[in-house]
């Protein structure tokens, strides 16, 4: 329908002028919603098909602020549409449905809906949809602030420092100085822009904080855990959901690594841990991984013995981090430099396997590492084969001390993967706020017969009603003039017509009616018998409801409620045309 200018400045009058896209296959609802939204002073665009909506959204990338869509669309599953809209366009999407079943609502939320409205929708519900747009904007700002630049650094520090602190009971921050320097190098390379972003407050996962975190996780139950829940339970006001999310990923990795340690020892099954990599939210690992991917492509040929079953989406997931795109492209142009910079990062250690095994020996053996020695040796010897081309770096020695083992292993896994272009399908990770884009799979399951949609409605209405009258139980009545006096004027003419018709077909009609009622009679009788042993009480009730009405009709002695049946088809046509 209408598409007003979508770049009009709206900030002064927000939420007025909010650009809403409404998607619903029901034309009646579409019109109602359009009117409602217009009354809220929103700019409305309507769409009757899911595909049309997606096309429209793609055409006008920034043309809409929010999408409201019905769950049941004929050409595409509403939930799928929802996912695509949310992911591709990163727009807040509100779902609508007649069905308010909890499971459906839950599904909607799981697929990313920011709200779920039940039809019939009230206008007041629509008035407030602007909050979703507003909320998203606020979160975006927060995200940008947290991800841009400093979080990378923060993570690098955290990964080595905090994991050491927490999991390996290591203290100290010996390499932080070195890291800072490397980080700055990286910043220079990556051109992060405003270096002052480094000075923003960063989240330091102290032992205390982590304890709270773990407590919350255990309370919720590891299977049901999610960043939001944890955040709520932790009750740390300055902590953001993003912080928790990234920490949760690390925690998961750590636990998984512990769990699968035996596997690693038994075989070159380290690759299994790559399953964990998609869970990196901030993409910090992705950053490094992506760089290594470029470098390791050549090395992939060596992986004859490894289990290369990692689905490509693992990398894809990381690459898709918006904030990383620039980084990836940068790393592609300057792989060597990036490598050097990254080497001190724990993740990067794997890329110089040869060096590692050498420097490993040269390091003062830390008691805490003793337990992992065998694992490490195995890991690195494996990697030796693959990464022979990579030279060891002196920086490694320092970096080694604070090797977070989970990180290494994960990183290694990723290295085995080849870079994948961005268009692959990715499974939906429920923990993430912004899952990776998902390829649209049209589901034919819900396709309605398109022909029917195209048929002229008026013609059908007539056919329908006449057919209906013939087959319906209480239909043509040959007696009684209309009861309502107000109809006298207009109805007289029609009265004549219908009566004439009736009279001419009287014989047939009576027969028909007789037959119809006979059927009903049998029906009722049969049902009554069935009703006794019928497990469905409703059926019985229905009969009870129906029968008085029927019998009234049978007697041809009906009150006002049956008025309308007198002149079913002809009047309808007449009046509605007017």
């Amino acid at each position: 329908m209408e598409c007003n200018g979508f770049n009009s400045p709206r900030s002064d009058t927000f939420p007025a002028g909010l650009r809403v896209l409404v998607v619903d296959d029901d034309p009646t609802w579409l019109k109602i919603l359009e009117k409602m939204l217009k009354k809220c002073s929103y700019e409305v665009t309507t769409c009757g098909l899911a595909r049309e909506a997606l096309d429209l959204l793609r055409e006008r990338k920034d043309g809409f602020d929010i999408v409201i869509s019905d769950v049941n669309m004929p050409d595409m599953d509403g939930f799928k549409l929802l996912e695509n809209m949310g992911l591709e366009m990163d727009l807040p999407v509100i779902m609508m449905s007649v069905d308010g079943e909890t499971s459906r609502v839950m599904k909607g939320v799981q697929h990313g809906a920011c709200d779920y409205l039940l039809k019939p929708i009230r206008m007041k519900e629509l008035r407030n949809i602007w909050q979703h747009v507003f909320r998203k904007r606020v979160h975006e700002v927060r995200d940008i602030e947290s991800h841009d630049g400093f979080e990378e650094i923060q993570i690098m520090r955290n990964v080595s420092d905090q994991y050491d602190d927490i999991y390996l009971h290591n203290g100290g921050d010996l390499t932080s100085g070195k890291k800072r320097k490397d980080v700055e190098n990286k910043l220079d390379n990556k051109d992060f822009g405003d270096p002052s972003s480094l000075k923003k407050a960063r989240v330091v996962w102290t032992v205390d904080l982590h304890q709270k975190f773990v407590k919350a996780v255990n309370q919720i139950g590891f299977d049901k855990v999610g960043p939001k829940k944890i955040l709520d339970l932790m009750n740390v006001p300055w902590l953001t959901r993003e912080n928790v999310a990234s920490h949760l990923q690390k925690y998961r990795l750590y636990l998984c690594r512990l769990q699968k340690e035996n596997d690693i020892k038994a075989s070159f099954g380290g690759i299994k841990q790559a399953d964990l990599s998609p869970k990196h939210t901030a993409g910090k690992f992705g950053l490094h991984n992506s760089i290594n991917i470029q470098q390791d492509d050549a090395a992939n040929g060596h992986f004859g013995t490894s289990d290369n079953k990692i689905p490509p989406h693992n990398i894809d997931h990381k690459i898709h981090e918006a904030e990383l795109k620039g980084i990836v492209s940068m790393s592609m142009t300057k792989p060597k430099k990036a490598q050097i910079v990254n080497i001190p990062e724990p993740q990067k250690l794997s890329s110089s396997g040869t060096g590692l095994s050498h420097s490993w020996g040269s390091l003062e053996p830390d008691p805490k590492y003793a337990a992992f020695d065998s694992t490490l040796t195995m890991q690195y010897s494996w990697r030796d084969i693959q990464y022979q081309e990579y030279k060891p770096h002196l920086q490694l020695e320092n970096g080694f001390r604070h090797l977070p083992l989970p990180a290494i292993q994960n990183h290694i896994q990723v290295n085995t993967l080849r870079p994948v272009p961005s268009t692959n399908t990715i499974p939906f990770n429920k923990e993430r706020d912004k899952p990776s884009p998902i390829e649209i799979q049209p589901s034919g399951a819900k396709c309605r017969s398109q022909q029917i949609r195209q048929v002229a409605p008026t013609g059908n209405a007539f056919d329908l009603l006449s057919a209906q009258s013939e087959s319906s139980m209480t239909n043509f009545h040959t007696s009684s003039p209309p009861a309502s006096a107000t109809f006298s004027m207009k109805n007289q003419g029609i009265d004549r017509i219908s009566v004439t018709d009736l009279e001419s077909n009287k014989g047939n009609l009576i027969q028909e009616i007789g037959e119809a009622f006979a059927c009903i009679d049998e029906d009722l009788t049969a049902s009554c018998f069935q009703g006794d042993c019928c497990s469905i009480n409703l059926g019985f009730q229905n009969i009870a409801e129906v029968s008085p009405y029927l019998y009234d009709a049978l007697k041809f002695d009906y009150e006002n409620p049956c008025d309308s049946l007198e002149y079913p088809v002809i009047i309808d046509q007449g009046l509605f045309i007017a």
């Binding site: 007649v98 206008m123 049902s527 059926g539 009047i571």
Partner: protein
């Protein structure tokens, strides 16, 4: 007929529609949307609904022709129709739709067929009543 009388008539018919459970709150929502920009909004919506309902009713009829019917498909089609009838606040129609869906869930073909008749009936009744009402309302406008 003088306007006052017609107005009262219109009001009476309207009140009846609500009292007798033919219409629910949604209809009032539609009335509230009616304004100078769309002075006949409610009637337009009702017309739109009835025109579109033919298609949906046809879908259900087609689905019912199979024996045994595809209950999932029936339920789906009826769900669509129910959603549509909720748009004008067709309370009794909706009730029958729900009944129909329950029969679908129970895979009761006979129940479905019977209830479907009810649905169509209620549709016709409501249409008639609304026509009466709109006629009156127009005359009093």
């Amino acid at each position: 007929m003088d306007t006052t009388h017609l107005q009262r008539q219109a009001a009476f018919v309207r009140k009846n529609l609500f009292d007798q459970g033919y219409l629910d709150e949604q209809f009032i929502q539609l009335e509230e949307l009616q304004d100078d920009a769309n002075p006949n909004f409610v009637e337009e919506i009702v017309t739109l609904f009835y025109n579109d309902s033919a298609r949906l009713i046809r879908n259900i009829e087609l689905a019912l022709e199979n024996s045994p019917p595809d209950f999932a498909r029936l339920d789906d089609s009826m769900h669509q129709f129910k959603g549509s009838s909720s748009s004008i606040g067709a309370k009794k129609v909706k009730k029958e739709c729900t009944q129909f869906q329950e029969y679908c869930n129970a895979a009761n073909a006979q129940g479905c067929i019977r209830t479907f008749q009810q649905v169509k009936q209620e549709l016709v009744i409501l249409r008639r009543k609304l026509e009466t009402y709109f006629q009156l309302a127009r005359q009093t406008a």
